[in-house]
Amino acid sequence: MAAARRPAAATPVRRILALGGHEFSSRPPDRAVCELLLRLAGERGGGRPRICILPTASGDTSEQIAGFYSAFGERACEPSDVSLFRLGRRPPALRDHLLSQDLIYVGGGSMVNLLAVWEAHDISSILSLAWRRGIVLAGQSAGAMCWFEAGITKSSGRPLAAAGLGLLSGSLCVHYNDEPERRAAYLDAVADGMPGGYGLDDYAGLLWEGEGTPSALTARRGARAYRVVGREGEVAESPLPARLLPAPAPAALREDIAEFRRIKTMRRRAGWLG
């Protein structure tokens, strides 16, 4: 019967997660962000999803790549990185690799350089195709603004507007209340006619799942997402209601707890009760 056909199979849900700023540390808000990334990847890829970092905006710094592997290396996933500055002597199958992922994560850095290097390597069209195929696109800072029509970047020193890929309409400003000069430049740009959009504090995020409005998320109490709308030279800024993401205990700690429980169960079975 026609009713058995699932529309999801024909048109995958297009998903983008934009994050205002975070690190790959073991602190609770950073762990909460990584859990969310794993969950989103797992919803597409099952128990062992494939997650690839594009650290292009940083110039492929070892620091960013090592941070990514320290966060995902020992989790149930297949992490990889594509460093466009260190492709080696043989051109790798970039397109095949990226299109085989469940989630592509874009790190922060220079938004202008990010888009310029992507353009030079023809990555932009691959990412757009990945998005249409339902591969989750995610990123923080420059790696979040790149999906919009425009963002506010400090790629040239002081904060200035720069064009993004335009998969999402409107604009995004990251590190919103963490960098007041960036927010001020954003509000000025929107007042001057740049398409409005969103402001994201560090540890706040917006998740697009299919068409329509995004849901706001926060990994730290007090971190907020804002809707920013310009009209006739005036700018209206309103905070969005956001869901607080849980920050589970670190993996190592979880294993310790599990071990403790196993021992307790064994003791109980042995009748030692203690």
Partner: protein
């Protein structure tokens, strides 16, 4: 006004490949004929890798030249006016890495046209010479139809 001599040196060695052998670096410093040449390092092709910048400053130490570098990934630091800075150099030293990424980033920051201007004018201040040094594109990945010749055709054979 005196026309400066235009020079481009393409290297397959120097500090990036042979840290213990300073001969090629000494040679290019000598080409400037300046007592204390101004040397600017562009590590863009490596993604402005920290270790590469450090090795540059070790090889081109301040006792024999005036070294500087421009990091296009950290524009909040370093010279604000890139054009003025680059045009005031005696030697611009371009590090190796990915040539495709290099050209993408240069275009985004207008470095390609600044370097062309420096090459064509040949003059910074007074009789300063401009030298461009392009290290062999080690580590860059060679696409058969790479847009290199049209992108940076200041050198007859790029």
């Amino acid at each position: 006004m005196q026309t400066a001599e235009r020079q481009i040196v393409a290297l397959g060695g120097g500090f990036s490949m042979e840290s213990g052998n300073p001969l090629l670096d000494d040679y290019v410093l000598g080409l400037t004929r300046a007592e204390r040449p101004r040397v600017c390092f562009l590590p863009s092709a490596s993604g402005d890798a920290d270790h590469y910048v450090v090795r540059f400053y070790r090889a081109f130490s301040a006792h024999r030249c005036e070294p500087s570098h421009v990091s296009l990934f950290r524009r909040e630091q370093g010279p604000g006016d890139l054009r003025r800075h680059l045009l005031s150099q005696d030697l611009v030293y371009v590090g190796g890495g990915s040539v495709v990424s290099l050209l993408g980033v240069w275009r985004a920051h207008g470095i390609d046209s600044i370097l062309r201007e420096a090459w064509e004018s040949g003059v910074g201040r007074g009789e300063a010479y401009h030298r461009f040094l392009r290290e062999g594109m080690r580590g860059g990945y060679a696409v058969p139809a790479a847009p290199l010749p049209e992108a940076l055709s200041t050198a007859p054979a790029a």
